[in-house]
Subunit: 235 residues, 2 copies
């Protein structure tokens, strides 16, 4: 049975890395003391070692050990052995490119389906949807495909940002961008604001955190859903 | 001899479509009364016809006729016949995808090299660089490649936006995103603020408009350049 936490962000403004999630993570990962971290998204281009250290520092606060997947000779084997997985944020294109390069997409799908608890933040959440067509990231590398894990039957837009009514900038708002996505694609998109996450247990998908989320469906006016809403019907 | 205007945006805040450029365009396109418009980037997913109408309305103010490339049975032939080309903004991935689909990349390179005046705005400017790895757009479709026209020896970031010091949003700033690009790629990037454009005449590349631009070079601290700066040495 799938057990996932798909979070908009690792960090909310004014607090430490993963701080707002630590209590929840303590119970989410209750059956394991060791987390396998996938640092491939490399925020700011930092090294896999440096990024893993950040995850280690956070998880040490709830008594969990973290090991980076890059520390294993056989990343596929490491995934299969893992009792808990965390895929951190950074650049979604870099993350997806490396997952394809190491042929890990199928293995990730398999271990998540088999019940290994999975935490994703930001880019690590983007890959839980159908495709990365709704990432906010700059396409700094060209991955072999935009198709990803499809662990939920829709796409995710993390760090969802409401339009700034005072802005004089002519770039598109997030809402406009997602509506453009629907000119070429039909799957729903969930705009997850920073501080929100999806809790997946088997076929159930529930919005958690304090904030509402925004739902974009093909040929439908976007609408808000409250925290606690069951989104398993969204497809 | 190349003759290009590579503009950050079609529209500056509080004015009409192309308004801030019309005087310059009048002299830039002085040798032709007819402009071929490429509406493939489809801002907001609008139709090619609707988008072409917007370009028509703007160019009619300086006595130029506009025809959309989609109105021709043979788009490649239309490009070869054109005396002036305008590629409008919208979604860079959609634009590039359609250019590849219609096999127009090589033809565009050829006619620009041969001296057909080319105006690009936003997505239409992005494609003048080496790759679209530094677009701001959402990757709503998967193009066959990120490689584009390479009419200048660097990459372009249109709608360049300075960091907002008051922001509580945890998404990356534009500067951070471009610096991440340099973790995987070495070409320079020019951040073109809205209201700026590059004027290309043969091998000369000069920054025009009222604003400074920001230059990002591999392994170098980003720096500002004044309008009027010759950027032909940037590579």
């Amino acid at each position: 049975m799938k057990q996932m936490m798909i979070a908009s962000t690792s960090t909310v403004h004014g607090s430490g890395y993963l701080s707002y999630l630590l209590d929840t993570l303590s119970s989410f990962f209750k059956d394991t003391g060791a987390i396998l971290f996938i640092p491939y998204a490399r925020p700011g281009g930092i090294s896999h070692d440096d990024y893993t250290q950040i995850a280690k520092d956070a998880f040490s606060q709830i008594g969990k050990e973290v090991k980076g997947i890059h520390e294993f000779d056989n990343p596929k084997g490491a995934l299969k052995q893992a009792k808990g997985i965390f895929v951190g944020g950074g650049n979604t294109f870099v993350l997806v490119n490396q997952l394809y390069k190491n042929d890990l997409i199928g293995t990730l799908q398999e271990v998540i389906q088999n019940g290994t608890p999975y935490l994703g933040t930001s880019a690590g959440s983007n890959i839980c949807g159908l495709t990365i067509n709704t990432t906010n990231d700059m396409p700094i590398v060209y991955p072999p495909s935009f198709k990803v894990l499809a662990m939920v039957p829709f796409n995710i837009n993390p760090h969802y940002l409401d339009p700034d009514p005072g802005s004089k900038h002519m770039g598109e708002t997030r809402e406009t961008r997602i509506q453009e996505f629907h000119a070429y694609n039909s799957p729903p998109v969930i705009g997850l604001r920073e501080g929100s996450w999806l809790e997946v247990k088997g076929d159930s998908i529930v919005l958690r955190g304090e904030l509402d989320a925004r739902i974009f469906k093909y040929h439908t006016t976007p609408y808000e859903v409250k925290t606690g809403t069951d989104l398993s019907g969204l497809k």
